[in-house]
Symmetry: C2
Subunit: 130 residues, 2 copies
């Protein structure tokens, strides 16, 4: 494991963060976007479970730490500019805290000017988060 | 077309930006990440071609304006928090300015601590950008 030389190739912004796009390794569905600092990326590479930096709580969070809905890392890609990361994962249960498999469960309906729900709820958030 | 009511549902950050993940509508491959301000999103929704805000040049850029490699919008999704957008597109030629189809053409090799190229170059950047 040589995480440090890979981490050096990432360009973190002035807040020390890089956006990470999380994609289902099997279906290629985009599940969520979250942010990583150096420590979160290191932890993700070393443990093979996604770990992010919460911009609101100002601390690391292991994805699934309260829900159990962890993401096992299957592949990590860096973009051409080095300032965005794509991570392919095996998602346990569902990615979104609302209960949907993907956080992108609302599509813009341009004719009606409304958001419409796409996909089904996989779990009831009230039962998972107490 | 009721773009304004949809734009109001997006949470732009303190710089007035929201990250947009661009995904191939057919293959589901993630092509790139770029940023939109309100104006770029409005233009994207109205013209059905992706338009971004360049953080380095501080201005709007129509994707493909110099290369011709435009992206036709097939669907626009908003995430649960409203602070990230997913856009499914039909990509002309290739998305990356390096000539690769996707900007995420380098995979982290955790054993070797190196990036390895995935995918083939579709065009020669020297011939496209003068």
């Amino acid at each position: 494991m040589k995480a440090s030389s890979l981490i050096r190739k990432c360009k973190f912004d002035k807040n020390g963060l890089v956006p990470a796009i999380i994609q289902d390794a099997k279906t290629a569905q985009v599940l969520m976007v979250a942010y990583m600092n150096r420590q979160a990326l290191k932890k993700t590479l070393e443990t093979k479970k996604t770990c992010f930096f919460s911009r609101s709580r100002k601390k690391l969070w292991l994805k699934g730490e309260s829900s159990g809905h962890i993401q096992r890392v299957r592949g990590v890609f860096l973009d051409c500019d080095g300032d965005a990361i794509l991570i392919k994962v095996a998602q346990k249960e569902a990615a979104c805290h609302t209960g949907y498999y993907s956080c992108f469960y609302r599509e813009m309906d341009l004719k009606k000017g409304q958001l419409k729900i796409k996909g089904k709820r996989i779990f009831d958030p009230k039962k998972i988060y107490r």
